[in-house]
Amino acid sequence: MNDKVIDIRDLWFSYNGQPVLTNVNFKVARGEFMAIIGPNGGGKTTLLKLMLGLLEPDRGKIRILGLSPRQAVNRIGYVPQNVHINRNFPISVLDVVLMGRLGMGSRSKRHSPAHRAAARQALERLEMWSFHRRHIGELSGGQLQKVFIARALVTEPEILFLDEPTASVDTKGQGDLYTLLQELNQTITILLVSHDVMALSRHIKSVACVNRNVLFHDAAELTEEMVDMAYPCPVDIIAHGLPHRVLPTHEDG
């Protein structure tokens, strides 16, 4: 039995001639709860989009659950960065979650009782069912994030990707969110892009650092190698709100 749910070999990706990811080899075991960190522009979101099949690699192979990203896409839940979402858009919480079931089953069965039941279950799991008729503009950042997680869970995925899920959530909301993700992790493999690895460290099982390449560490701590690689890091990772500590630059051999 193959327990690697993600298997990336010799992956290269460039954007407008600029290399974004070079020679990436990366495996994720089932049941993992991994934080993906790294500097802005280091390729974290690009790596997620490659694994979702939204981008095509220049070279290399990506297998998700033994399939190509496009074939596996219905078994992956995706919570995008929600900073770009238009909060004035006329849509209710329930309709956002139902969107997760589009493309499953035939056209005529869309939003059938089965889909509505699945949406209700996902919202109840996140304690958001009482909001299902609300307009999304009425929700707080943390509540909106839960709605997006419900939309990702409504397909009952085996893997969950989250891109900066705490960006618009206050500190208490962040703690609740991590606790929730830890619960979900009992059945779902989770990969989470984040700046704030300190707040995460009690919950995650491992860390991967992405900066053109991927370094993986099988424990919830940063290695010196990662800090070197991510340099110059966002302040949060190294000093957690204190002024940036200057680290010796790492010379490539």
Binding site: G53, P80, I85, N88, P90, S92, R110, H135
Partner: protein
Amino acid sequence: MIEALQFEFMRNALLAGLLVSVACGVIGTLVVVNRLVFLAGGIAHSAYGGIGLALFLGLPYLVGTLGVALLAALIMAVVSLKARHRSDTIIGVIWAVGMAAGIILVDLTPGYNVDLMGFLFGSILTVPRSDLWQMLVICLAQVIIVVYYYNDFLAMSYDSEFARLRNIPVGWLYFLLLGMIALSVVIIIRVVGLILVIALLTMPPYIAEKYTRSLAAMMALSTALSCLFTTTGLALAYWLDLTSGATIILVAAAGFLISMAVQRLRIRH
């Protein structure tokens, strides 16, 4: 207004206004939520090139405008999918070139003078019955397409990346939407002019967006608002002997301002 309805041209104008409202409510909503107002304006203006071309080549009006508007929409769709960061510039270029080409082609056509004001503000009071049938067919076709693809358009408009992950044919829907915009714009310009097309495509949906919780409700409310604005505008134009297209726009603008004032008061209390 009731006595005015004994004239056939008034009845036709009223019907034209109501049909335009349906197209503007449904397509206008999609234009506003997808932030395609500038693009719709570009298609509408470049359609003037089609008027010039039709005159110059002696083609039927509809062939010229529809051809040019659909071509402009196609180019804009390709550009905005392939080079998003330059799409507004390209739209601006097509906008200007289309109009300029139309004017030069009219210049070059001997013995014929087209009223540019008629193109800008239309002539709702001279809508012939045959145009009403064309508008009815196009409105019906658009409503059927939007109802059939409702969930897909909703997903594309709200979060196109997520829609792609759910195997929604986002590219095809985008082309379809731009095609429908071109079609509405062409039919409606003939009746009410391109300034009124832009006004009705944007103002009612913008007002409706603030009071609705679903795309369908937004479409319905903006259709109702368009009907209200066109009917009130027509009545005022009749009583006060004003240009009907411009009166309708000012009525819509008044509605727009009232809605903004109400919105501010609601937030304060």
